[in-house]
């Protein structure tokens, strides 16, 4: 039987329609990268050494946004979490929680973009699960992915590794994802050519892991909470001060424009395809060169440095030449008029 044009509760019942969904939609999409179809759990052969293991849930609203969708986000987010620990991504799990009524073509498009990211990064889909909930109990689709990766020897990127004298690099423009998603949100809506930066960072960072592992002190992806939250975390975990330079922050005009219209700070806005690199200052030019030679890192820039003073605090040298504190953003980003 062919699939209905919308997902029904029955597609999550475990019966015939569940099989139809699996056999007709999901398996064909993943057939080249599927590890062990339909067993209760996957049995993995892991390489020797340490293993990185992570999980994340994706609830982005809207499901499709400029530059991506929840499927691409779910693949990239989990891959990037592995990469930030110096892990080569190997396996992914896929949990789908679908609201009944989701157009089947939407699900297909979302899973196609998820599969494409896995394929490009040679990540295998190890296991999965599909549930369908009643209308009103979810916002179209939620995705949970867990990822397993092999920790590369000699790479230690914990947030607690920053030392005074280190420099802070961001691999590209900040705030693109958050602003792109905001542009489609109810009550805010604006038009822009800006697209989300959602991207897997393995290819960008692999050469750095291979050739300059010792130069890397900390790696973080500044997702929710933006650069502000990630740098605050690093300052606290390493018990160091961080001084950021506002003039050095790479910010696209559209992000600046949206932030000025809606009263937001680009430092607080989410990224999904950027990394913060805290590194040995002697290696900064080499790292910048390596990062800028990859399309995802062309706009990489040094945005600040690590200092011994005021441990735990992040300060910003402003464009006006003054100084202020950078704090964790509070709550969801809301358009303001004041």
């Amino acid at each position: 039987m062919g699939l209905t044009d919308r997902i029904l509760l029955a597609h999550g019942s475990g019966g015939r329609q569940s099989q139809d969904l699996l056999q007709q939609l999901i398996i064909p999409l993943f057939k080249d990268i599927l590890l062990t179809p339909l067993d209760d759990s996957a049995c993995l052969s892991l390489p020797a050494g340490q293993t990185a293991f992570t999980t994340d849930s994706y609830v982005v609203d809207p499901l499709f946004f400029p530059g991506g969708d929840i499927g691409r986000l779910a693949a990239c987010g989990t891959i990037n979490d592995l990469v930030m620990q110096g892990g080569k991504p190997l396996f992914l799990s896929l949990g789908l929680i679908i609201e009944e009524g989701l157009p089947t073509t939407d699900l297909q498009r979302i899973l196609e973009s998820l599969a494409a990211v896995l394929q490009d990064n040679e990540v295998r889909l190890a296991t999965g699960d599909t549930k369908v909930v009643q209308r009103g109990q979810a916002n179209g689709l939620y995705i949970n992915t867990a990822g397993i990766g092999r920790c590369l020897p000699g790479v230690d990127t914990s947030s607690s590794n920053a030392r005074p004298g280190d420099e802070v690099i961001v691999t590209g423009t900040i705030g693109d994802h958050g602003v792109a998603v905001l542009s489609h949100r109810q009550g805010v809506r604006f038009e822009t050519e800006l697209t989300s930066d959602v991207a897997p960072l393995w290819a960008l960072l692999k050469p750095v892991f291979e050739h300059h592992p010792a130069a890397l002190h900390v790696l973080r992806d500044p997702t929710r909470g933006g650069v502000a939250a990630a740098v605050c975390d690093i300052a606290r975990a390493s018990n160091v001060g961080v001084v950021l330079n506002e003039r050095s922050l790479p910010i696209r005009a559209e992000v600046r424009g949206a932030c000025s219209l809606f009263g937001l700070d680009p430092l607080d806005v989410a990224n999904e395809g950027k990394a913060l690199v805290v590194c040995n200052p002697k290696e900064t030019p080499t790292l910048l060169e390596a990062l800028r030679s990859h399309p995802l890192g062309q706009q990489a820039a040094v945005i600040g440095s690590v200092v011994a003073e005021s441990p735990g605090l992040v300060r910003l040298r402003t464009r006006a030449g003054g100084e202020r504190l950078v704090d964790l953003p509070a709550g969801e980003l809301l358009p303001r008029i004041c």
Partner: protein
């Protein structure tokens, strides 16, 4: 590799003159930036760390969220709990605590609360969903009042009977007059609000210069605007002048925007209004004229009217709003009261004085948030 930015040439020259004048003047000066957006801009741009030590900037009552009494939120919460009512609000109000709840918490509890950037969004939704009732929370000063007035007029023209407005609109000049009656407040000048003045022009501040002998400068919000504004204040102080000057010429014109005021006068009439920290001030608020009562949420839903809220006695927002104390002098600041768990309005509003001090000012060096006496 990190180069610490020095002030740009124009800014640097102005700051140099400011530092020289401040030394010549000899005694410390206190200027009030009336507008919350100035407070926020001064912190975000790091401006406060560039000013001479003898110049203190005190924050005034120009943050609509901060001066709106908690019972406005209580009434909004009561409205949110009504069947089929959708609350539409500026993002600024979502997390503001009322006496017992906030709109954010009501939303978590099942109420429908939508954040809008323009009051016209409420009209658009009301037209799309005729079976539901929409209430727009109309807060703001003179800058925002014309936008609300146009929205009310449109609702009336389009005969949209499922949208209404809960109004807590406030007027700045009467509040400034009330503020300056406090003998405890010792000021040397005022940085007057830039965007409020787009609407009302510089003239309503004349009494500050004339009767209170206070220098006044209407300033813009770029760091360069604010530095120039403070410098103009200091020049007046040094020259023993008290005048109303405009720094923000590109937006503020003599006489203001007459059309906008005519529009709002056709929709609203003056009324007494209660301000947090300042109490009742005559003619400092606006209420809908009787012919628009069909769009007045307060009249449409009398069951949601609430008694005046009792505010947390330990919270000193009232005095912060009058610049009588600095945030650090409040016992709750940064301990019981943070942006995540705000106790008072000055912490919850992102342009609130306490939020600005908390987010941007708690520097270890104490450069800008040292507990100086106000």
């Amino acid at each position: 590799m990190t180069v610490s930015p020095a002030p740009s040439p124009g800014l640097k020259a102005q700051l140099l003159e400011m530092h020289q004048l401040a030394r010549q003047f000899g005694r410390p000066v206190k200027y009030m930036e009336v507008c919350g957006t100035h407070t926020m801009a001064a912190f975000r741009s790091g401006l406060r760390t560039l000013l001479p030590e003898s110049i203190s900037l005190l924050s005034g009552p120009g943050c609509p969220v901060c001066v709106t009494p908690a019972d406005f939120i209580d009434q909004a919460v009561a409205l949110a709990r009504l069947q089929d009512v959708v609350i539409v609000t500026f993002g600024d109000l979502l997390r503001v605590p009322g006496s017992r709840s906030s709109l954010e918490r009501e939303r978590a509890g099942g109420a429908e609360v939508r954040v809008a950037y323009s009051p016209l969004d409420a009209l658009a939704w009301a037209a799309q969903e005729p079976q539901r009732r929409f209430v727009f929370l109309a807060i703001g000063f003179e800058t925002t009042i014309p936008a609300i007035a146009v929205s009310v007029l449109q609702a009336a023209e389009r005969r949209l009977d499922n949208v209404s407005f809960l109004c807590a609109l406030k007027l700045m000049p009467p509040a400034l007059a009330a503020l300056l009656r406090s003998p405890a407040l010792k000021l040397d000048g005022l940085l007057c609000p830039g965007h409020v003045s787009v609407m009302i022009g510089p003239e309503p501040y004349a009494f500050l210069a004339k009767s209170h002998h206070l220098p006044c400068v209407v300033a813009g919000f770029e760091p360069g605007d604010m530095v120039a504004g403070v410098l103009m204040l200091l020049r007046q102080s040094c020259g023993h002048r008290a005048e109303v000057e405009i720094q923000y010429h590109r937006s503020v014109k003599p006489g203001g925007l007459l059309r906008a005021r005519q529009l709002w006068e056709s929709v609203f009439e003056p009324s007494p209004s209660r301000w947090r920290g300042l109490g009742w001030i005559p003619e400092s608020g606006l209420k809908l004229r009787p012919e628009f009562s069909a769009w007045d949420a307060d009249r449409l839903y009398p069951e949601t009217q609430v008694p005046a809220a009792v505010e947390n006695p330990a919270c000193r927002c009232g005095e912060v709003l009058q610049a009588l104390v600095l945030p650090g002098q409040c016992p709750l600041f940064a301990s019981g009261c943070t942006p995540e768990e705000p106790q008072g309005p000055c912490m919850v509003s992102s342009e609130g004085t306490c939020a600005a001090y908390y987010r941007y000012g708690r520097m270890a060096s104490g450069a800008s948030a040292a507990p100086e006496r106000a």
